[in-house]
C-alpha cells in the first residue's frame, strides 16, 4: 500500500492567506503551529470558479460543526462534494459565521484598516484572477461557535494545540484558499494572530479508500446543462427581452384524491390531526400522509447525501 508523500509546504504568517492548486487525490493539511488559531477557508473548482464550496449545503448535510467524515459540498446546481475531511484532531469547525470584514472592524472597533478575512481571502485569491466579490461564505476551521437558546450564534474561545490539524482530501481539482483569520480583537483565536502550517500530500491508497462514495445524480448540473452558460462580464443588470420563462414542472397542477374514511379511521384522524389546519380536513390529512412518507421512506446515506432509490 502506498504511503503519503509531501508535495508542498508553506507557513501562512498572521495576516496572510495562500491559494493552493489542490489536485484530486491530494490532501491539504492545515496545522496549528502555536495553537488556538482560526483559519478561514474558501474552495473553488480549479477549472470553473463558478463552482465553489457552499456552507449552507454543507451545514444542512453535516451540521453546524463539520468534522472528520464530512464533505465540503459545492453550491447548487452543481452540488457535489469537493473535499472530504479525512482527519480532524480537534473536531471544532464552523459553517455558521461569515468571514470577518473591514466594515466590521471599522463599525465596531473604529479601525479603518485592520486584518480581516474578506480582504485576506481576496488578496490570496487575486493570484488566480479572482475579485473581492468572488470570496464566498467561509468554512471556519478550529473556530468554536455555539447557538444560544434564543437562536443567536456566538463565538467562544478555542483550545486547539500546536500540531492539531485538519486533513482535507480533494475529490476533484480545486483551488483551496486558507487564510489566518484576522480577528485579533475577538475570542475567535483567543485574542492573538498566529501562523498556520500548510502541507500538501499525495494521498495514499488508504486515504482514497477512506472517502465514501456519493451518488452521482442527474440533478447535479454543469454549465452544459444551463440555459445560460455564459458568464456575465459586465456589471449592470439589463433585462433580456427574448427571455421566456421555463420554470421546472410548471404550471403546478392539482388533483383531488377522494378518501373515504371508516368510522374508526375518522376517529383516528380527529385524534392526530394538527390543530393548525383548523377546519381544512384535506390539508390536515395531506400533512399526515407526507409526515408518514418522510418517516418511512426518507433517509440519508452514510455519506450524508440524500438517499436515492426512494419510492
Amino acid at each position: 500500500m502506498s504511503a503519503r508523500s509531501v508535495l508542498f509546504e508553506w507557513t501562512m504568517q498572521p495576516g496572510t492567506g495562500k491559494a493552493i492548486e489542490l489536485r484530486a487525490g491530494r490532501i491539504l493539511r492545515i496545522e496549528q503551529v502555536e495553537g488556538r488559531q482560526c483559519v478561514d477557508f474558501n474552495c473553488f473548482n480549479l477549472h470553473d470558479y463558478k463552482e465553489y464550496m457552499h456552507c449552507g449545503r454543507t451545514r444542512t448535510v453535516h451540521g453546524f460543526n463539520p468534522s472528520k467524515g464530512s464533505f465540503l459540498w459545492s453550491a447548487p446546481p452543481r452540488e457535489r462534494p469537493l473535499l472530504y475531511i479525512l482527519e480532524d484532531t480537534v473536531g471544532r469547525n464552523d459553517v455558521l459565521f461569515p468571514r470577518c470584514s473591514a466594515y466590521l472592524y471599522e463599525s465596531a472597533y473604529g479601525f479603518d484598516a485592520h486584518t480581516n478575512c474578506q480582504d485576506i481571502q481576496a488578496e490570496a485569491q487575486r493570484e488566480y484572477g479572482l475579485t473581492p466579490d468572488d470570496v464566498h461564505d467561509s468554512f471556519n476551521l478550529f473556530m468554536c461557535t455555539e447557538v444560544t437558546l434564543d437562536g443567536r450564534a456566538t463565538i467562544t474561545r478555542q483550545e486547539s494545540r500546536p500540531g492539531d490539524f485538519v486533513d482535507l482530501l480533494a475529490l476533484v481539482d480545486v483551488l483551496a484558499v486558507p487564510n489566518v483569520c484576522g480577528a485579533d480583537v475577538m475570542r475567535t483565536s483567543n485574542f492573538a494572530l498566529k501562523p498556520i502550517k500548510l502541507t500538501v500530500f499525495q494521498a495514499s491508497e488508504a486515504d482514497m479508500a477512506a472517502a465514501p462514495k456519493t451518488p452521482i445524480l442527474k440533478s447535479q448540473r454543469t454549465p452544459q446543462d444551463f440555459r445560460n452558460a455564459t458568464i456575465k462580464s459586465d456589471r449592470a443588470l439589463v433585462r433580456d427581452h427574448t427571455y421566456v420563462a421555463e420554470f421546472v414542472n410548471t404550471p403546478i397542477l392539482v388533483e383531488d384524491v377522494v378518501v373515504t374514511l371508516s368510522a374508526d379511521e375518522a376517529a383516528m384522524f380527529e385524534a392526530i390531526r394538527l390543530p393548525s389546519y383548523e377546519a381544512d380536513d384535506g390539508a390536515a390529512l395531506r400533512d399526515i400522509l407526507f409526515t408518514w412518507w418522510e418517516e418511512n421512506f426518507l433517509g440519508a446515506t452514510e455519506s450524508g447525501a440524500p438517499a436515492i432509490g426512494s419510492p
Partner: protein, 52 residues
C-alpha cells in the same frame, strides 16, 4: 363516529411520489395509501401515548 369523506388536494409532484409508493406495492391505490398512512401514524401516536 360516522364514515367520512375527505378530499386531499395533491399537485403533480406529490402525486408522483404517491404513485411510486403505490407502484411499489405500499397500497392498492392513492386513497388506500393515504388511509394506510393515517392508520400507521395513529398507531404510532397511540404507542407514544402509552409510553408516557
Amino acid at each position: 363516529m360516522a364514515e367520512r369523506t375527505v378530499i386531499v388536494r395533491l399537485n403533480q409532484q406529490q402525486i408522483e411520489l404517491v404513485d411510486r409508493a403505490v407502484a411499489r406495492g405500499a397500497a392498492a391505490d392513492r386513497a388506500a395509501l393515504i388511509r394506510r398512512a393515517l392508520r400507521e401514524q395513529a398507531a404510532k401516536s397511540s404507542r407514544r401515548g402509552e409510553a408516557r
